[in-house]
């Protein structure tokens, strides 16, 4: 019955596609949400059944042979459509369907006024199906199908409001950047096939097949560089899908999509596909320890880089987008440190609190009639009590406040990195970077919370908050905040860039004229917020490390559960755990760093001493670099997009001038010749007769005077 898990959302998608327009809106949304809820229930039952049995061997379900050649016994199966349930995919499938269902529920309220409501749910269900194929597939090729499908859904949903050029181009950007990663994945698949001769992850004792790739890749790969090549190429795919340096640029722009999409796809699930994939194939990575160092380094670099950009962004969704990139970096850091369970643990808690934060941000945007600029918010705590309280839960979770989910998962990552650092000094550097990022995370999230919910409401007509506005050279006071043109002029980014502020405008056409009084969102949206808030608070308790509760051993229950899937076979994790006192010190360090971040944010944005404006003036150059996102988009524009456009223009000119020119030239030559010769065809018979006569004379003359 495992096949029902992806099948239900697919069915929902098909129903929405063909009948969605004819059904009443509420019913269409209910069908879509119900399909995902059904998938969640089925997945839950399947996982419970699996957990009750022997979890050391994955459960596989073979649906049908997909690519095969030969007949009968001689048949060679290249790839099948098959599903796999093991502790790792159990976690993923529950997160995807569980969080996915809550976001479906929320969308029913959020998208209620959108004319393309059925189309939205068609895409959203298709996404749920694709993601479930990705996490449940039992072989590389079927996983790749899901991998590509989620990319497609991401493209469709970022560009959901395709009439707006910025949304259309953001969708295109996401797709193109993802292609770079997919290239790596595809080449890795070719290498895997030529090396192993199979795509199956694991051999299934129930079916007589050859061994799977991941059973013990060391038995086939003796060449370390081959393992390194496969691991790094797969990582290229993960970097693209999970928005790591240098391919992260698409994710902030993906905020052009509706906010539930940002929450579901670009925070909670799809972007974690890379993490899942690396954890899934960790045995390959362990064959090439250098690849793990690369993963960890890229992860740490991304974490601090994205966090630094997030420090100064003014669009509420963009802050969260950079935060997502940064948190994904943490997960890769964990994977790179060999702590695969820690990475997956953070993936899960992050899914809870980041979905919550995005949906909370959506609720704020909804309440303010599509205002996304933090500088125009403030004082929203009392009008939006439920949203604010749930948002605070998410905030405490992400900054790692003790007891909240993010605390346990982030702490585990830091502890594992430190552990690894005791053997390999490079990881100590990464640990320091991660620790610094903790403070930055705490700062930008606190800044967001303080600006949005506390202080006094700076509303639409009071212009920009003077603090940061004055630091921007090209700023003009925004008088009429409603006008889109003003939005763009008031954009803090000095160079032209997509402004996603109007992103959710169309969703709430019915709200029309911007209400001056913020209003709380409908209950259907609040339910999702409340459930996610509870998960953000308590979701981490499955991973409470033993030293905190004085238990023996050094594995938390969550790690123990995942151990059959991701326990290191090689030497990567074959080192002792930290001493309990050391663990406490490490935990204390991260809490202190987070406290420092919150304190700075409170000083700047709550107390106002020193004022953010003075701060920005004093550090003007760094401030501008951060505000403009390190000019990475501009760099890519100059290095890749611009030469690409030039090449395209040249090829277009070549095509028009030379290729088309040759074809058209031949045609023009025939036409010209015809035009010249047609004048001879006068239609007057006597004219022809004269011509014949002249010809006859000419022939006679020729014979006569030939000599």
């Amino acid at each position: 019955m495992l096949w029902l898990v992806p099948a239900l959302p697919l069915l929902g998608s098909v129903v929405s596609l063909f009948f969605g327009r004819r059904l009443p809106k509420a019913l269409a949304g209910t069908i879509a949400s119900g399909a995902v809820l059904g998938a969640f229930v089925v997945a839950l039952l399947a996982v419970l059944e699996f957990v009750a049995g022997d979890t050391t061997h994955p459960f596989q379900q073979h649906l049908f042979p997909w690519i095969a050649w030969g007949e009968g016994r001689a048949q060679v199966l290249v790839a099948e459509a098959g599903l796999l349930l093991d502790p790792l995919s159990s976690v993923m499938v529950l997160v995807v369907t569980g969080v996915g269902f809550l976001i479906h529920l929320y969308s029913m309220g959020y998208m209620a006024h959108d004319p393309s409501y059925p189309r939205f749910f068609t895409y959203l269900n298709l996404f749920a199906f694709s993601m479930l194929v990705l996490v449940l597939a039992n072989n590389f090729l079927f996983m790749f199908v899901g991998w590509e499908l989620v990319g497609l859904c991401s493209y469709l949903l970022i560009g959901f409001w395709f009439t707006r050029p910025s949304a259309a181009s953001a969708g295109k950007k996401a797709f193109v950047v993802n292609r770079v990663g997919d290239w790596g994945f595809l080449v890795a698949l070719l290498l895997i096939w030529t090396t192993f001769g199979t795509f199956q992850f694991f051999a299934d004792p129930a079916v007589a097949t050859t061994g799977g790739v991941l059973d013990d890749p060391g038995r086939v790969i003796r060449d370390g560089s081959l393992a390194l090549a496969i691991a790094l190429l797969l990582f290229v795919g993960a970097v693209g899908k999970s928005a790591q340096v240098p391919l992260y640029v698409w994710l902030p722009d993906a905020m052009e999509g509706p906010t539930p999409v940002s929450a579901l796809i670009h925070a909670a699930t799809m972007v974690t596909a890379g993490i899942y994939m690396v954890a899934r194939v960790h045995t390959l990575y362990e064959l090439a320890p250098a690849s793990l160092a690369v993963v960890a380094t890229i992860g740490a670099l991304t974490a601090i880089f994205a966090a630094s950009i997030g420090l100064v962004q003014t669009d509420i969704k963009r802050v969260l987008a950079y935060s997502t990139v940064s948190q994904l970096g943490y997960m890769f850091l964990a994977l790179g440190a060999g702590a695969f369970a820690a990475g997956i643990f953070h993936l899960m808690t992050h899914a809870f609190f980041k979905a919550l934060l995005f949906l909370g941000a959506g609720s704020v945007i909804h309440a303010l009639s599509d205002e996304q600029d933090l500088r125009r918010m403030g004082g929203l705590f009392s009008p939006l009590k439920v949203t604010a309280l749930t948002f605070l839960a998410g905030w405490l979770a992400i900054i790692g406040f003790p007891g909240f989910s993010g605390f346990f998962s982030k702490d585990l990552i830091l502890a594992k990195t430190l552990e690894r650092g005791l053997e390999d000094p490079w990881y100590l550097v990464l640990y320091a970077v991660a620790l610094l990022t903790v403070a930055m995370t705490a700062f930008y999230m606190s800044r967001l919370v303080f600006l949005a919910f506390f202080g006094r409401h700076r509303g639409a007509d009071e212009g920009l908050m003077p603090a940061e506005a004055r630091a921007v050279p090209e700023h003009e006071p925004a008088a009429a905040a409603g006008a889109v043109a003003t939005h763009q002029r008031a954009s803090p980014v000095v160079h032209a860039s997509h402004n996603s502020r109007a992103a959710d405008r169309e969703a709430h056409g019915a709200h029309g004229a911007h209400g001056s009084t913020p209003h709380e969102s409908p209950w259907i949206m609040l339910i999702a917020l409340i459930v996610l808030a509870l998960l953000s608070i308590g979701g981490g308790w499955v991973g409470i490390p033993p030293f905190m509760v004085g238990a023996a051993g050094h594995e938390s229950p969550f790690e123990a559960f995942l151990a059959p899937s991701v326990a290191a076979h090689g030497a990567a994790e074959a080192h002792g755990a930290l001493e309990a006192t050391m663990e406490w010190v490490a935990t204390g360090a991260s809490v202190v760093m987070a406290g420092i971040g919150v304190a700075i944010a409170a000083a700047l944005y709550l107390a106002g001493t020193p004022s953010p404006a003075d701060f920005a003036r004093r550090f003007r150059q760094p401030y501008l670099w951060l505000l403009n996102k390190w000019y990475v988009d501009e760099l890519y524009q100059a290095l890749i997009a611009h030469p690409g456009a030039r090449l395209a223009a040249f090829l277009a000119a070549f095509d028009l001038g030379v290729v088309d020119g040759a074809v058209n030239g031949i045609a023009r030559l025939s036409r010209g010749t015809g035009a010249a010769l047609r004048s001879v065809q006068s239609g007057y018979v006597r004219g022809y007769a004269v011509t014949m006569l002249i010809g006859a004379f000419a022939i006679l003359a020729f014979w006569a005077f030939r000599g």
Partner: protein, 112 residues
């Protein structure tokens, strides 16, 4: 032609040159008729004139050289001319039926 056989020699009263000149004159008249007249029937008759001018030349040279070849060719020409008259007149009649004219310059709708 079997050896020893020859056409009986005619009295040399009319020299071959006279026939050739006659033939050339008739041919020239026919040519001018084709080129200058607009009536399709007249042009047709002019063509006949040209054909017959050629026939005269054939016959004259046949006699001159004492061979039958030219005379045989004349029969061919006459037969072909008869067939041509049948087809040509048919076309002209049909043109007249549809266009109510036999003026050759009015029948120029095959102009390129």
């Amino acid at each position: 032609m079997p050896p020893g056989f020859a056409l009986p020699a005619l009295p040399a009263t009319v020299p071959t040159e006279a026939y050739v000149v006659l033939s050339a004159v008739l041919f020239a008249i026919g040519t001018l008729g084709v080129l200058l007249r607009k009536n399709a029937l007249t042009i047709f008759m002019s063509i006949e004139l040209m054909l017959n001018a050629v026939n005269v030349a054939f016959v004259a040279f046949a006699r001159q050289f004492g061979q039958f070849d030219g005379q045989i060719f004349v029969f061919f020409v006459m037969a072909v001319a008869a067939a041509e008259v049948a087809v040509g007149l048919g076309i002209i009649v049909d043109i007249f039926r549809s266009r109510r004219t036999v003026d050759i310059d009015d029948v120029s709708w095959l102009r390129g």
